[in-house]
Symmetry: C2
Subunit: 235 residues, 2 copies
């Protein structure tokens, strides 16, 4: 019975780290006192210790202890025994490279499938999709594969950004990029705006948060879905 | 005696395809009647024929014929015999995947080293750097390597974008992304704003166009350099 939160971002503008999600996280991690944090995405190249400290501070406010995966000798065992798992954002290429290097993708899948509650934000959400082909990140590291956890039957585009009105910049809009993805790939993509998340409970997928999301299906015009919509149709 | 133009973009806002560069291209390709176009980056998933047609129209205005590499049976020979080479923009992951698949990176390097004039725009400029680790593109295809032509001893970041004042979006700025690149890599990066290009003549590297560029060197604060500056110091 999977229990997953796939969040667009850790932080919304003008608010603290994870602050907008804390009420939800209290419920999501209700059976966990200690949560295993995977700091591999290293935003801005930050150290594992420093990143774990940031996560610790946020979770302390809801009475949870955080332990970084880098503190364990046996990472497989740490994942298997975790009461809850949180994979934070940063760079998806760095994160996925480290997950493969440490050979822990299967261990994470197994833990989630047996019911360990999981939280992903940004890069930690990208890896919940079938592949990381729709990340926004710069490819600063070369991972052995773009295949990710496949916890949901589509790809995630976190920090989804609408075209900026009146922009004179000639770089591609996000929508153009995802359309290009569909020139070479067929799985659906969900553009999650900052403040949105997907809740997976058992096998029920729901869009949460105050905003709509944008759905990109192969061969269809992109369209909006409202918050609290069931996403099972994308299966 | 290399002769290369590495342009940030094919098109500046409010102007036609390659229009801002045509006077420069007349000189750059003065010895070429027919130019070999490599359409592999396929912007928006466009076909090789359609993309070649766009390039043809622009070059026709300065009296040059374009032939697409996909029209040749023997691509190695086509590159070897080319009077000039143009690699257009689109998706760098798609472009680099195709260059490896068709095994033509070495042929392009050899042609350029023996003096065949080369023009790259956007993705076609990214591949002039040491690696494609600093592309802005979405990783919609998985290339066998991120290593590129290494025609200049640094990496390119085309369509360089300054932070947008007052933005509430929590995604990384371009500068943050390049700083993250330097957490894991040491080569310099040049942020080329739209309208800028690097001219390589023999072994002299010069910044051209109306704008400054932003230089990111490992372990240093980023800084601006003025147009017409010599870039040989980055060697």
């Amino acid at each position: 019975m999977k229990s997953i939160i796939i969040a667009s971002t850790s932080t919304i503008h003008g608010s603290g780290y994870l602050e907008y999600l804390l009420d939800e996280l209290k419920i999501h991690f209700k059976s966990a006192n200690e949560i295993l944090f995977i700091p591999y995405a290293r935003p801005g190249g930050i150290s594992h210790d420093d990143y774990t400290e940031i996560a610790s501070k946020a979770f302390k406010t809801i009475g949870k202890t955080i332990k970084g995966l880098h503190e364990f000798e046996n990472t497989q065992e740490a994942i298997q025994n975790a009461q809850g798992i949180f994979v934070g954002g940063g760079n998806t290429f760095v994160l996925v490279s480290q997950l493969y290097k440490n050979n822990i993708l299967l261990a994470i899948q197994n833990a989630i499938n047996k019911g360990t509650p999981y939280l992903g934000t940004s890069a930690g959400s990208n890896i919940c999709g079938l592949t990381m082909h729709t990340t926004n990140d710069m490819p600063i590291m070369y991972p052995p594969s773009f295949k990710t956890l496949g916890l949901v039957p589509f790809n995630i585009n976190p920090h989804y950004l609408d075209p900026i009105e009146g922009s004179t910049h000639m770089g591609e809009t996000r929508e153009t990029r995802i359309k290009e993805f569909h020139a070479f790939n067929t799985q659906p993509v969900i553009g999650l705006r900052e403040g949105s998340w997907i809740s997976v409970e058992a096998n029920k997928l729901t869009l949460k948060g105050p905003l709509n999301a944008r759905i990109f299906e192969y061969g269809k015009a992109p369209y909006e879905i409202e918050t609290n919509s069931n996403l099972d149709f994308l299966k």
